[in-house]
């Protein structure tokens, strides 16, 4: 792969992701936040592609953009009052600067850990046809976990329905 193109792609996707993430938490309007969240997800899926996880990139688009972001928008609309403005305010009782400092510290510390940890690279192996490989994993080694995830999803679905519908008293 052309290295320059790769680098450029990384920075573009990283910029999209980070910028839209910042937008998600700073925008005052929930609908804006939701849309920016969708954009952020697209950026993340681009990063997945750069990491040669093409299947996951597709899953990311399908699930996050196709389902989660849409659900957020729906939720926003269902709980919205008259004005859209101020639906996603920052809480006033929270010292947001302190939170910003803590978050910044988090990044610094994480960078420190990344820098000091002696990673052992295995070079960049190229995997062809990741979907079939993942499918093999899921249906053999991770069979039980997969079934558990299915049960979890079912439970979540039933729980969500019950919660949203309300129990007859």
């Amino acid at each position: 792969m052309n290295e320059l193109a790769y680098n450029a792609a990384f920075f573009i996707f990283a910029a999209i992701t980070v910028a839209s993430a910042i937008g998600v938490v700073t925008k005052n309007d929930l609908v804006h936040s939701a849309l920016l969240l969708a954009l952020c997800f697209i950026g993340v899926s681009g990063l997945y592609v750069l990491l040669q996880a093409d299947f996951l990139a597709a899953v990311q688009i399908l699930i996050y953009n196709g389902a989660i972001a849409i659900v957020f928008v729906l939720g926003t609309m269902l709980t919205r009052r008259s004005a859209r403005h101020g639906t996603n305010d920052t809480e006033k009782n929270i010292p947001s600067r302190l939170v910003a400092v803590v978050s910044g510290l988090f990044v610094v510390v994480t960078l420190g850990v990344i820098a000091t940890t002696p990673w052992h690279y295995f070079g960049e192996g190229v995997v062809e046809d990741t979907p079939s490989l993942i499918a093999q994993f899921i249906l053999t080694d991770y069979m039980v976990a997969m079934e558990a995830a299915a049960v979890l999803l079912l439970a979540a679905m039933i729980g969500a329905i019950v919660l949203a519908k309300g129990v007859e008293e």
Binding site: E91, I94, L98, L105, V109, G112, V113, T116, T117, H120
Partner: protein, 634 residues
């Protein structure tokens, strides 16, 4: 053959009444007839076994020097070994016979006395337990076993004195008996612990073997204190001064109980303990002197109180204290023989008198002042005869039982100390006087028209007759058969009758009885005149030397005062300062910490993540050890 069996199954003797207690107490309480039958059968069996033991002791030539001891280990831990067992020697065999006989007779008597009482079954259960505890005490092989049964006896006395527990005075008397004897028991327990520390064993035989050498090596100072501590137990149990106050109040129990407590069990336990531990006391002259003087003083002191009492049972109670003082005196001057002899005869005539008094009270319910009785001899001839025998016996008139034993005591005392002898003789004068007073006032004189006495029923007359016979012959027969050869400590002593001592005591007793007759019988000297002339003495004696009041005053002043002081401290120091501080500190601390617990999730999250970052910084970036581990993972 039978005595062989009895000797080797002597452990059955306390066990049979104990079974009776369990059966009657737990299963047969609602069936009075069965309860009485079972209890009496068990007592009878135990009496027959005791007789077998007594016969076996004589037949097998078991003396105090070679007792028959059977024991099994009971508690065995490092440094402490206690057995349960049977200690058969002439002393315990004599006690077994006396105790089981009196218990049996008292139970038969109770059949009539307690007829129709609601607590009939309960009463027999307690009586059985009482007998079992006392019999167990008698055959104890060591101080631990003795103490266990000693406390059981105390418990039974509590239960029986407080038998009419819906009567306030009975409850109070029961508590008084229990607590007062507990003071003595405390000393006894400490003494026993001291013995364990000093000698490393509590077994009677082992102690008897080691005590003399110990005294030779270490002197008597410490051991005297230990002995006096042990003696505190008998002081409480046997109603010696100054812990005698519970005994007169113990009259609140039913009269058969009084007979049992005063004649055969409970009070003689103390005397028996001293006799059993005589190997200890006999080597400690100071302790012996204390015992002798306490005994003599108690004898005289109690007799002088009995002088003026009006309650028939109280007079008998004080006479018991007085006679127990005699026994202690005999022990104090070193004569186990005299003491045990008197214990036995006293058991007979005192049980006799109590049962006779019970018959009187049974005939005249709701009365106990002797001056409201009178002239009962016509309607109650058997009771009258029984009481007369008892009075003659206790006064020491030959040939009744008390004469021989009292004479033996006086003789032993006369050889040791003249002052003690004088006290003993004066006491015997007083004894004869107040006992004659009791007899004359209750049975002679005019009949009171408001009284409707009747003779006691058969079940009550039989024990009276049996005990009456024993009170007559119970002195001469042992005397003639060399009682002192068997029941003794050290070498056997053959005293014979010293005629100067015997004549003195007899003459004095007869004089005292004549004096009583003149005062109370034919009214030659008016009793109220005497009491007016000697007003102070009368009052002091009537109020029992104000001992109870003194104890009450002490209680009110010191114990209650101390309580008040503690209460004040509690109010003004503990509660005001300590508790307030202790309570306000967490509140203040909580107010500080509460601010962080405001329920705001996001603030919690902030704190959590902040702390997490700090932990990561500390663990990963600053800690080289962890860094090395984390780095080595890949």
């Amino acid at each position: 053959m039978f005595n062989q069996y009895a000797l080797h199954h002597a452990w059955l003797i306390p066990l049979l009444p104990a079974f009776a207690f369990i059966f009657v107490g737990f299963f047969l309480r609602r069936l009075p007839a069965v309860a009485g039958f079972v209890s009496i059968c068990m007592s009878l069996l135990s009496f027959i076994l005791s007789l077998g033991v007594g016969y076996g002791v004589i037949a097998r030539q078991i003396t105090v020097d070679n007792p028959l001891v059977q024991k099994i280990p009971w508690v065995s831990i490092a440094g402490f070994q206690a057995d349960m067992g049977v200690y058969v020697d002439p002393i315990s065999a004599m006690m077994l016979v006396v105790v089981s006989l009196v218990a049996l007779l008292v139970q038969i008597y109770s059949l009539g006395y307690m007829r129709g009482d609601n607590g009939f079954g309960r009463f027999f259960a307690y009586l059985s337990l009482f007998a079992a505890s006392m019999l167990g005490l008698v055959i104890a092989v060591n101080f631990v076993q003795l103490f266990v049964f000693w406390e059981l006896v105390g418990l039974c006395s509590y239960l029986l004195i407080g038998f009419y527990f819906n009567k306030v005075s009975a409850r109070e008397a029961a508590k008084k008996a229990f607590i007062t004897t507990r003071i003595g028991d405390f000393g006894l327990l400490i003494g026993i612990l001291f013995l364990q520390i000093l000698f490393g064993t509590l077994d009677f035989q082992q102690l008897a073997a080691t005590v003399p050498t110990y005294v030779m090596q270490h002197g008597t100072a410490l051991l005297t204190i230990v002995a006096l501590l042990i003696f505190l137990g008998p002081i409480g149990k046997s109603g010696q001064f100054p812990l005698h106050v519970w005994l007169p109040d113990a009259m609140e129990g039913p009269t058969p109980v009084s007979a049992l407590i005063h004649a055969a069990t409970m009070v003689v336990a103390g005397v028996y303990l001293v006799a059993r531990a005589f190997f200890l006391f006999s080597v400690l002259p100071d302790a012996m002197a204390v015992i002798a003087w306490i005994g003599a003083f108690t004898a005289c002191f109690a007799a002088s109180i009995a002088f003026t009492q009006r309650d028939i049972k109280r007079i008998l109670a004080y006479s018991t204290i007085s006679q127990l003082g005699y026994m202690m005196l005999a022990l104090g001057v070193g004569s186990v023989t005299a003491s045990m002899f008197h214990l036995m005869t006293h058991a007979f005539f005192k049980a006799l008198m109590f049962l006779a008094a019970g018959a009187v009270l049974h005939a005249l319910p709701e009365k106990n002042d002797i001056f409201t009785m009178g002239g009962l001899r016509h309607k109650m001839p058997v009771t009258f005869a029984a009481m007369t025998i008892g009075v003659l016996a206790i006064s020491g008139i030959p040939p009744f039982a008390g004469f021989f034993s009292k004479d033996e005591i006086l003789l032993a005392v006369a050889q040791v100390s003249t002052p003690l002898y004088t006290i003993a003789v004066v006491t015997s004068f007083m004894t004869a006087f107040y006992m004659a007073r009791l007899l004359i006032v209750v049975f002679c004189g005019e009949e009171k028209p408001e009284n409707q006495p009747h003779e006691a029923p058969l079940s009550m007359r039989i024990p009276l007759i049996v005990l009456g016979v024993l009170a007559v012959i119970g002195g001469y027969i042992p005397y003639a058969n060399n009682f002192g050869d068997w029941v003794r400590f050290g070498a056997a002593v053959h005293e014979g009758i010293d005629f100067s001592v015997a004549a003195t005591s007899t003459v004095i007793a007869i004089l005292a009885m004549c004096l009583a007759w003149f005062i109370y019988g034919n009214g030659m000297v008016r009793s109220d005149k005497i009491s007016r002339r000697f007003r102070i003495f009368y009052k002091v004696s009537f109020h029992k030397y104000y001992i109870d009041e003194l104890y009450l005053w002490f209680n009110h002043t010191f114990v209650d005062g101390f309580g008040k002081l503690l209460y004040w401290l509690e109010l003004h120091f503990v509660e005001a300062i300590l508790i307030k501080v202790a309570a306000s500190l967490p509140v203040k601390l909580g107010n500080v910490v509460r601010k962080s617990q405001n329920g705001n999730l996001q603030r919690y999250g902030l704190v959590m993540f902040g702390a997490m970052i700090l932990v990561v910084v500390w663990l990963v970036l600053l800690n080289p050890l962890f860094n090395g581990v984390a780095g080595g993972a890949y």
